[in-house]
């Protein structure tokens, strides 16, 4: 990858250690993805905020780099480990809270917009089509490319952080060539958001960079988010297009049999001790929709709902938050189902959710059994 004279100086440490670290990361990712140059980006969305995932090494790294790094472009961040309004209910130890607050402070020092959300595309205005951004959170990167028509690589936590610090990203991968090389025919009838989650997990496994999906007219927000999140979990694919006439050379079917295979890989129990909704976090549309589904009903078990703080505030003003709470939901902001330290084996053995991404990490990272169901069935079976 060719660097300008000024970029070269940064890589050699002439503009400080933080800048040097950022350029070292960009050089490696540029080399890895055959980029010939760096291009300016207009928005970075950084992951690596939750102490549960980045640990002591991550916390120390951020404390060090934030001493002299400043974000050059608007930078939003992923969820952290808890909602400070309800943290005392979950019995996290003092060390966790202290380290998490240190991470929050490091991002603040670098000039972050404190979104603590994995759905930046639902809480901020989207820039115009074709704008170069650098999104790390995988569901957000796939959503930005596929639904928002923006341009981003499927960035890593460090490459997005380096882009936030430098305002640049390698001109590679999906920025350059995003034409699908594979087309998947959707053959499952009457699909819901869980079906699209299973399709996304399958697509992530078989497709490489970008994939076409045929047999699907349009997707509502819940289905779109479910598809993006599960695709990001299982593979490297960073974009999908709905296209019945793709000229992609490779074609595969996603039928009932394939769907069942994915389901059997991720579903490990028929019932959960607790319900979680929100991986990705719920947006306003999903909150209002859920409130109307729950009219006159209440959950029989504990039900945690994860949403961005701005969405919770809006929902509260509009009365929906109160309705959800009356139906037994606990609203949580700044954190997410995925990699949560709040749902552990100490308290429960199993979780019911409609999120494939949530299921994957609840099983693999939290060691819990997972019961997967679409939202309509969760409401039918778990409320009265």
């Amino acid at each position: 990858m060719e660097l300008t004279k000024d970029e070269e100086k940064s890589l050699n440490g002439e503009h400080g250690e933080a800048m040097q670290t950022a350029y070292r990361i960009l050089s490696a990712t540029g080399e890895a993805t055959d980029a010939e140059k760096l291009v300016p980006i207009h928005w970075a969305h950084v992951s690596g905020v939750n102490y549960n995932t980045i640990g002591d090494a991550g916390e120390e790294f951020l404390a060090t780099i934030s001493k002299d790094a400043k974000f050059r472009v608007r930078t939003t961040v992923n969820p952290m480990g808890y909602d400070k309004d309800s943290v005392e209910k979950f019995g996290l130890d003092e060390n966790f809270i202290q380290k998490q607050e240190s991470i929050r402070e490091s991002y603040k020092k670098m000039g972050v917009t404190p979104s603590f959300s994995c759905i930046p595309y639902e809480i901020y205005d989207m820039p115009q089509e074709g704008t170069q951004v650098a999104f790390a959170e995988t569901n957000a990167a796939i959503y930005a490319n596929s639904v928002g028509k923006l341009k981003t690589n499927k960035e890593s936590a460090f490459s997005a952080l380096a882009s936030a610090i430098t305002g640049k990203s390698p001109y590679s991968d999906l920025r350059k060539d995003d034409s699908p090389t594979m087309s998947i025919a959707m053959k499952v009838s009457d699909p819901n958001e869980l079906t699209f989650g299973l399709l996304g997990y399958f697509a992530g496994k078989v497709a490489d960079k970008s994939v076409a999906i045929s047999g699907v007219k349009n997707l509502d927000k819940r289905c779109n988010k479910s598809l993006c999140a599960s695709m990001g979990t299982s593979g490297t694919c960073g974009k999908f297009v709905l296209d019945d006439n793709s000229d992609a050379s490779e074609k595969v079917d996603f039928d009932e049999k394939e769907m069942q295979k994915v389901y059997d890989e991720l579903n490990t129990t028929e019932s959960g001790d607790l319900i979680t909704l929100g991986s990705p976090q719920l947006g306003l549309e999903e909150m209002t929709d859920l409130a109307s589904m729950l009219k006159g009903r209440a959950f029989k078990k504990r039900c945690l709902i994860f949403c961005p703080r701005t969405i919770q505030e809006q929902a509260r003003h509009m009365g929906y938050a109160g309705q959800l709470e009356s139906a037994g939901c606990e609203l949580m902001s700044d954190c997410c189902t995925c990699l949560t330290p709040l749902v552990t084996k100490k308290d429960v053995d199993s979780v019911t959710t409609n999120s494939i991404k949530g299921a994957y990490y609840l099983k693999n990272s939290n060691g819990l059994d997972v019961n997967l169901k679409p939202l309509s069935e969760i409401v039918r079976d778990e409320t009265s």
Binding site: A32, T53, T138, K154, A157, F158, G204, G232, N364
Partner: protein, 120 residues
């Protein structure tokens, strides 16, 4: 032949080869370097000190922090070698200073689990 060097370094060690891609955040214990995903081909094995040969990284962007943490906890592979590079593995190795190589298809196929090899 090694097609590309993403992070430089000379290393000699034993190959630990995975037939499957690796989700570092979801399936590797960042303290011990053990593979924790029961459905993974390397389940129960430790990647520490090995030359980890695998197709590519997948999944969460935060996997880059897992790679960095492995290094801080002295549980990282001595080097990694992949079929294709992805941003999570490339950036994690760059920050942790773990040598990372992209292999030619022939070289990738010829590496066997347990081989003593030198790279770089």
């Amino acid at each position: 032949m090694t097609l590309k060097t993403i992070v430089k370094g000379k290393v000699t060690g034993k190959v630990l080869k995975s037939s499957q891609p690796i989700n570092f955040l979801g399936s590797v214990d960042k303290k011990t370097g053990a593979i924790t995903d029961q459905k993974h081909a390397l389940f129960g094995k430790k990647i520490a000190g090995s030359i980890l040969v695998f197709p590519n990284g997948i999944g969460s962007s935060v996997g880059a922090y897992t790679i960095y943490s492995l290094k801080s906890n002295n549980s990282a592979p001595a080097a990694m070698a992949c079929q294709k590079a992805d941003l999570t593995v490339a950036s994690g190795c760059a920050l942790a200073n773990i040598p990372l190589f992209i292999l030619s298809p022939d070289e990738y196929d010829s590496m066997k689990d347990g081989d003593e090899i030198s790279l770089g």
